[in-house]
C-alpha cells in the first residue's frame, strides 16, 4: 500500500468564504449606477429654474412629476398604464409561445429547420413596422392588431436565441445521455433544455425590450388610450411635460420588467462559469 498517493481533496472552506463575500460587493455596486442619473436630474432642474431652457420645450422635472401626479389623482393615468401593460404582456406571451414551439422544433429537428427556418429568416428581414397597415386591414384597429404587432416583435429574438441555443448544445453532453439510453424526450428534458436555457433567457430579455418598442409604435399609430397615445396627445396639445412623463414611465416599466427577467436569469443560471458568478 505504500506506493499509494491516496485520494483526499482539501476541504471546501476556502470556496465558501469567497461565495459569501461576493453578493455584498455586487449590492454596493448598485449605488454607483445612481450617481449619473441623479446628477443629470439636478442639472436639468437647475437649468429649468434658472431659465436656461424655455419651459414650453423642456419643463423642469418637478413640473413633469406634478403633471403626472395630477393625472394619477384624476385616475386618468392608470387607464393608460394598465392598457399598455396589458398589450405588452399579452403580446409577449403570444410571441413567446409561438417562438418556443417553432424554435424548439427548428432547433431539434433537421427537417423542421430546413422547412421553416428559411421562411422565418426571410420574414425577419421585413421591418416590423411594415406589418402595421396589413394588421390594421386584417384585424382592424382594435386591441388584436396591437397585440399581434408586439407578438411579432417578441417572436424573433426569442426564436433565434432558442434555436441557436439548442443547436449549440455540446455534442459531448448529448453522448452522455445516449450512454444512459435516453429517449428523445429525456434528451430534450434532461440535457437540451437546460443547456439551451442561458441563450433562451437572453432571447427573452431582448424580446421583451422589443415588445416595449413595438407597443409604443402600435400606440403612436392608432390608439385612443395607452402611454404611447398619451405621448401623441402631449405632442398635439403642446404639453411637453406629458410627453416626457410618458417617456419616463416607459423607462420605469421597461426597466422593472427587465429586472424581473434579470433576477430569474441570475437565479436560474448561477451554475454558469462566467464573470457574473466569479
Amino acid at each position: 500500500m505504500s506506493s499509494r498517493t491516496e485520494a483526499a481533496v482539501s476541504s471546501p472552506a476556502v470556496q465558501r468564504t469567497k461565495i459569501k463575500t461576493s453578493p455584498k460587493r455586487k449590492r454596493g455596486g448598485a449605488w454607483l449606477g445612481l450617481i449619473l442619473p441623479v446628477l443629470l436630474l439636478v442639472l436639468w432642474e437647475t437649468a429649468s429654474r434658472a431659465g436656461w431652457v424655455a419651459p414650453y420645450l423642456l419643463p423642469s422635472p418637478t413640473a413633469v412629476v406634478e403633471e403626472m401626479t395630477g393625472m394619477a389623482q384624476d385616475g386618468e393615468l392608470w387607464g393608460h398604464i394598465s392598457i399598455t401593460l396589458y398589450r405588452v404582456s399579452a403580446g409577449f406571451l403570444a410571441g413567446l409561445s409561438a417562438a418556443v414551439v417553432l424554435g424548439a422544433a427548428t432547433g431539434y429537428s433537421r427537417l423542421a429547420r430546413q422547412l421553416l427556418d428559411p421562411m422565418l429568416q426571410a420574414l425577419r428581414a421585413i421591418p416590423s413596422l411594415a406589418w402595421v397597415p396589413l394588421f390594421v386591414l386584417w384585424i382592424g384597429i382594435g386591441e388584436a392588431s396591437k397585440i399581434t404587432l408586439v407578438a411579432v416583435g417578441v417572436f424573433f429574438p426569442v426564436y433565434l436565441n432558442l434555436t441557436s441555443g439548442i443547436q449549440g448544445v455540446d455534442r459531448k453532453l448529448i453522448e452522455v445521455g445516449r450512454i444512459y439510453q435516453f429517449t428523445s424526450l429525456q434528451q430534450i428534458k434532461k440535457i437540451i433544455l437546460p443547456a439551451a436555457l442561458p441563450s433562451f433567457i437572453v432571447g427573452l430579455r431582448s424580446g421583451l425590450s422589443l415588445g416595449w418598442m413595438f407597443v409604443v409604435a402600435a400606440e403612436l399609430l392608432g390608439a385612443s388610450q395607452g402611454l404611447g397615445y398619451l405621448m401623441v396627445y402631449g405632442q398635439n396639445t403642446s404639453a411637453p411635460a406629458i410627453v416626457i412623463g410618458s417617456i419616463l414611465l416607459f423607462a420605469v416599466f421597461g426597466k422593472l420588467t427587465d429586472e424581473v427577467l434579470k433576477r430569474i436569469q441570475t437565479r436560474a443560471l448561477k451554475w454558469q462559469d462566467n464573470l457574473e458568478n466569479a
Binding site: 500500500m1 506506493s3 499509494r4 498517493t5 491516496e6 485520494a7 483526499a8 481533496v9 476541504s11 471546501p12 470556496q15 459531448k172 453532453l173 453522448e175 452522455v176 445521455g177 445516449r178 450512454i179 444512459y180 439510453q181 435516453f182 434532461k190 440535457i191 437546460p194 443547456a195 436555457l197 448561477k270 451554475w271 454558469q272 462559469d273 458568478n277
Partner: protein, 237 residues
C-alpha cells in the same frame, strides 16, 4: 463477461477505425488497450458502449440488455454544468432511489463535502472524480474508460490511478481501459492489448502477472515497457 468476435468498424475514407477485433474479457479483469494515435482504440470503445451502432461482427455480454452492461467514462468529465456534484452522479436515475449509493460513491472518490458544488467550482481532477462516481453508480458489468486521465497533470493522474485501484479492490469491476500512456497501462492492467495500423488490428497481447498495487519504478515493468515500445515501433509495417 465480454466476448467481441470479428468486430469491424471502418469509415468511408477507409483509413480510420479498426477491423477484425477479437477480444475476450473475464469477470473482474482489467484490460488495457494501447495503441498509436488513429488506430481506432477510442472508436472501439464507442462501438462497445453503443454510441456507434454501425459496426460489423458480434458483441456479447452476460447481461440481457446489452447496452446496460456498460458504464462509460470519457477523456473529459462531461458533467452537466447546471447540476451540482450529487445531481451529476445520480444523473439518469431518479434521485431518491440512488441518493444513498451516490453519497457513498462520492465519499469513495474523495469528494465528500463537495456534493452541492457546481462543476465550475471543481478542479479538473475533482471533476474527473465526480465522473468516476457517475460511471459507477449504475453498477455496470463492464466499465469502459476512454483515456480518462490524459488531460490531467502528472500528480493528479497518479492520485486518480490509485483511486481506480482502490475502487477495483472494493468492487472488482471488469474494466476496459483505452490509453496511450504505457506506464498507466502497466501500472493498472492485468492484460494489455496492443493495437496498430490504420484501420487498427490487434497486434499482440501481454499478460502482466505482477500483483497490485505495483511499484511505479518496478524493473520488470520497465522491461515490459521496452518490449511494448518495440511492438509499437512506427518503422515496422
Amino acid at each position: 463477461m465480454l466476448a467481441v468476435n470479428q468486430v469491424s468498424r471502418t469509415f468511408q475514407s477507409g483509413t480510420t477505425g479498426f477491423e477484425n477485433i477479437d477480444l475476450q474479457v473475464k469477470r473482474g479483469e482489467v484490460v488495457g488497450v494501447l495503441g498509436t494515435s488513429g488506430c481506432g482504440k477510442s472508436t472501439l470503445l464507442r462501438v462497445l458502449s453503443g454510441l456507434d451502432p454501425e459496426y460489423e461482427g458480434s458483441i456479447r455480454t452476460k447481461s440481457e440488455n446489452h447496452a446496460n452492461a456498460f458504464g462509460m467514462m470519457f477523456q473529459e468529465p462531461r458533467l452537466m454544468p447546471w447540476l451540482d456534484v450529487l445531481d451529476n452522479v445520480t444523473f439518469g436515475f431518479s434521485k431518491p432511489s440512488k441518493k444513498e449509493a451516490a453519497l457513498e460513491l462520492i465519499e469513495t472518490v474523495g469528494l465528500k463535502g463537495f456534493e452541492h458544488h457546481y462543476p465550475k467550482d471543481l478542479s479538473g481532477g475533482m471533476a474527473q472524480r465526480a465522473a468516476i462516481a457517475r460511471s459507477l453508480l449504475s453498477r455496470p458489468d463492464i466499465l469502459l474508460l476512454d483515456e480518462p486521465f490524459s488531460a490531467l497533470d502528472a500528480f493528479t493522474k497518479m492520485q486518480l490511478q490509485d483511486l481506480l485501484l482502490s475502487i477495483w479492490e472494493q468492487h472488482h469491476t471488469t474494466t476496459l481501459l483505452v490509453t496511450h500512456d504505457i506506464d498507466e497501462a502497466l501500472y493498472l492492467c492485468d492484460r494489455i492489448v496492443i493495437m496498430r495500423g490504420q484501420p487498427g488490428r490487434i497486434e499482440s497481447e501481454l499478460f502482466i502477472q505482477r500483483p497490485k498495487p505495483r511499484k511505479r519504478g518496478d524493473a520488470v515493468l520497465g522491461e515490459l515497457k521496452e518490449q511494448i515500445l518495440r511492438e509499437l515501433d512506427f518503422t515496422k509495417r
